[in-house]
């Protein structure tokens, strides 16, 4: 009996590995671009790497309503059987919105782990004046973001932080979609 279960687990693993290997990543990327375009968001990148287990984009410009708003150094999407990880490095916002949000975000990592918690997507980010972390609750349809920043940051970005409430050490914001 134990051998049978192990054999089926092995087949499932083989199936998942080959599903990821044969996944038409480039076409999924086109689908993503089309979906973003309907929301007036256009991603522009001329350096795309379609690898077996990952999909990377370098020097990405994000245009919203035909205005250049964000520049991303690298977007990397990796899928390992039950963990998917999206990593965005060096996010630079346009000068027009620098008063609302920090101009540079060093790293933003979005992780989805099918084994530990399939109903939760983790978000983690670091920028020059602190970091933020949070999660997306797929069951409750809720986004929670916690800010771990200095007091001066709160003063500098009043427009951003006025929506956050202080919970213990962090400033927290909840959004239901």
């Amino acid at each position: 009996m134990k051998n049978v279960i192990l054999r089926y687990v092995f087949y499932v693993m083989i199936f998942l590995i080959f599903m990821i290997l044969f996944l038409p990543k480039m076409n999924l990327y086109y689908l993503g671009l089309d979906k973003l375009k309907t929301n007036k968001i256009i991603l522009v990148s001329h350096d795309i790497e379609d690898k077996l287990l990952s999909f990377n984009m370098n020097n990405v410009m994000v245009n919203y309503e035909n205005k250049n708003t964000v520049k991303l150094n690298r977007i990397s999407l990796c899928t390992y059987i039950y963990i998917s990880k999206l990593e965005i490095t060096d996010i630079t916002f346009n000068d027009r919105i620098k008063d609302y949000i920090p101009k540079n975000i060093k790293k933003l990592i979005i992780t989805y782990n099918l084994m530990t918690n399939p109903l939760k997507i983790d978000i983690e980010s670091t920028f020059t004046k602190g970091k933020f972390f949070g999660h997306v609750d797929l069951l409750e349809r809720k986004v929670v973001i916690n800010l771990d920043v200095s007091h001066s940051f709160i003063k500098d970005y009043k427009d951003l932080t006025k929506k956050f409430t202080k919970k213990g050490e962090y400033y927290s914001y909840e959004y239901k979609y």
């Binding site: 087949y11 083989i14 199936f15 044969f22 996944l23 076409n27 256009i42 522009v44 427009d159």
Partner: protein, 274 residues
């Protein structure tokens, strides 16, 4: 060393693995069929197509023999006739010959805002009067009358403005209809408020509120006489054109932040438009 491989056992063990791989391949192929194959991205400048021209052998052959030097006659530039080409849509006059106007080019129907001493196609706006303005070029003066059609305004009967403005904490909440009403009848706005551009070393340094009528919307919005509006939604107001750019888009704005210099202190007024 002798290795015995039982082909039947090997096949029996490999077959399910191959089937699993084939299922994965098949599922991905089905997925591929439904996904977009290409993505059209906007190209900034399309490649120019070479213009089709018929080669005239006979004429070109003769041209090799006789080269005629034609004297080029310089084409005289057509002078832009201001009076017949523009429409004066709006005049806003302040004291001592200050203010601004809105004109539109008949050919392109583009509108432009001009302040006093600003130029349009080499015609400089020199004087503003009620009903007409005076441009000057090469020591000649050109009088442009306000377009008769633009004098028609529509008025809407409304409730008192106070009922449609709510204040909670430091934030004001405005009704969209109120903004729409003032957009439709801009003359109503200028009856209630008078502003002038403040210039420092030739550069605009904001707009000063000279006068606000009592019981006007602008008093309810927290503005005071003597306030200098420095920026709107963090966009610095460097000219009348900047101010009117924002005025045109105000219908689409949900939040508005005015940065005002009041008694040498920066005051921020925030509005949410519902």
């Amino acid at each position: 060393m002798n290795i015995n491989i039982n082909l039947n056992t090997l096949m029996a063990k490999l077959t399910p693995v191959i089937i699993v791989i084939l299922i994965a391949m098949m599922l991905n192929s089905i997925l591929y069929l439904y996904l977009p194959k290409v993505h059209f991205c906007e190209i900034e400048q399309a490649e120019k197509i070479i213009e089709y021209k018929k080669y005239r052998f006979k004429e070109n052959f003769q041209a090799l023999k006789i080269v005629k030097h034609k004297r080029k006659i310089p084409k005289s530039k057509k002078e832009y006739k201001l009076i017949s080409n523009i429409l004066l849509k709006m005049i806003y006059k302040e004291k001592e010959n200050t203010g601004w106007i809105i004109i539109s080019d008949k050919s392109s129907s583009n509108s432009k805002i001009l302040g006093i001493q600003e130029s349009f196609k080499n015609y400089r706006l020199t004087k503003i009067f009620e009903g007409f303005v005076v441009f000057s070029k090469n020591n000649k003066e050109y009088k442009v009358l306000l377009d008769a059609n633009e004098k028609k305004f529509s008025y809407i009967q409304t409730d008192s403005t106070k009922d449609r403005i709510k204040k909670s904490g430091g934030q004001y909440y405005l009704g969209k209809n109120l903004i729409k009403e003032y957009m439709q009848d801009s003359s109503k706005m200028w009856k209630e408020i008078s502003i002038s551009e403040i210039k420092n070393k030739g550069k605009s340094n904001g707009f000063k509120i000279n006068k606000i009528a009592k019981k006007s919307l602008f008093i309810d919005l927290g503005l005071k006489e003597g306030d200098i509006i420095k920026s709107v939604n963090n966009i610095k107001l460097k000219s009348y054109a900047d101010a009117f750019d924002f005025y045109r888009k105000i219908n689409k704005v949900r939040n508005m932040k005015l940065t005002v210099l009041r008694e040498n202190k920066i005051v921020e007024l925030e509005y949410e438009i519902k």
